[in-house]
Symmetry: C2
Subunit: 161 residues, 2 copies
């Protein structure tokens, strides 16, 4: 599997990232150098980043930013509902990945052979959420979909029944 997750958007759309820092300020939370840097890293990322990579990129902006701060900041952003945490089927160990929370929920479809990740959104997901709400009576707050399989470019082994 490749070292980085190239993400392809199933329908070619890439929604503009909301300005994280403005939303933090609006929430009455202090705007600091590290938070600014980490927000910028997330906004400029074209793929899912793990903490190590976020730290590396944030340190290009300010080398004194510490790993612990990255963890705390991501926890903060997550608590505010600004980012989502993924683990991508643990295909790359225990590390977690982060992405800015898009307006709509989407599923991650992961090729277990080549590591390619597709994101699926739209009507399929909306209909599913609706069905879950109706069946369970839950008020759904977050959905995590991680789907593994073989992409059209990869040789799939014969089905073990």
């Amino acid at each position: 599997m490749p070292p980085s997750h190239r993400v392809e958007d199933a329908d070619g759309r890439r929604p503009a990232a909301p300005r994280l820092i403005e939303r933090i300020r609006a929430a009455g939370i202090r705007v600091t150098g590290p938070r600014r840097a980490i927000a910028r890293v997330l906004e400029e990322a074209g793929d899912h980043l793990d903490v190590e990579e976020i730290t590396r990129r944030a340190q290009k902006i300010d080398p004194s930013i510490h790993r612990a701060t990255v963890y705390r900041t991501l926890g903060l952003f997550k608590g505010l509902g600004l980012v989502d945490e993924l683990d991508l089927l643990h295909l790359r160990g225990e590390r977690h990945f982060y992405e800015i929370r898009e307006s709509a929920t989407h599923a991650h479809v992961i090729c277990t052979h080549c590591g390619k990740i597709l994101e699926i959104g739209g009507e399929t997901i909306a209909a599913f959420e609706q069905a879950i709400s109706e069946e369970t009576g839950f008020r759904v707050e977050s959905m995590r979909f991680e789907i593994g399989g073989y992409c059209p470019d990869c040789p799939a082994p014969p089905r073990r029944s």
Copy 2:
């Protein structure tokens, strides 16, 4: 949150567990004491167990069974497609939970307030899998659904919009 996950089956159905050990033997893999014990623990479990709990229960059968063996055995079972690994939205830290793979995929719907877990299967899931296959061209091998929200018995905070 309660210390153990009582699982409620949305439609009252609890499918009979396949006999893990027979499937292991059929796969030409050695049947040993620890594997027998761990398989039995999984088959008798009414809820999702983490490694610590599986180890504890397996040790009731044979006290010499070691944690490392439990990890290795679960990895083996997982590789054979006999069990699934969950993380239940990380609501209980980084530990992973295991369950026997049922014939059909199901979603875990988790109340983030009281920890209750509902399992949803059936037509809703089948239709979703079908839609994903068609949209992506992937051959879907496994799906992990972890949905968080408030169950009907728990007070939901007002929506932050």
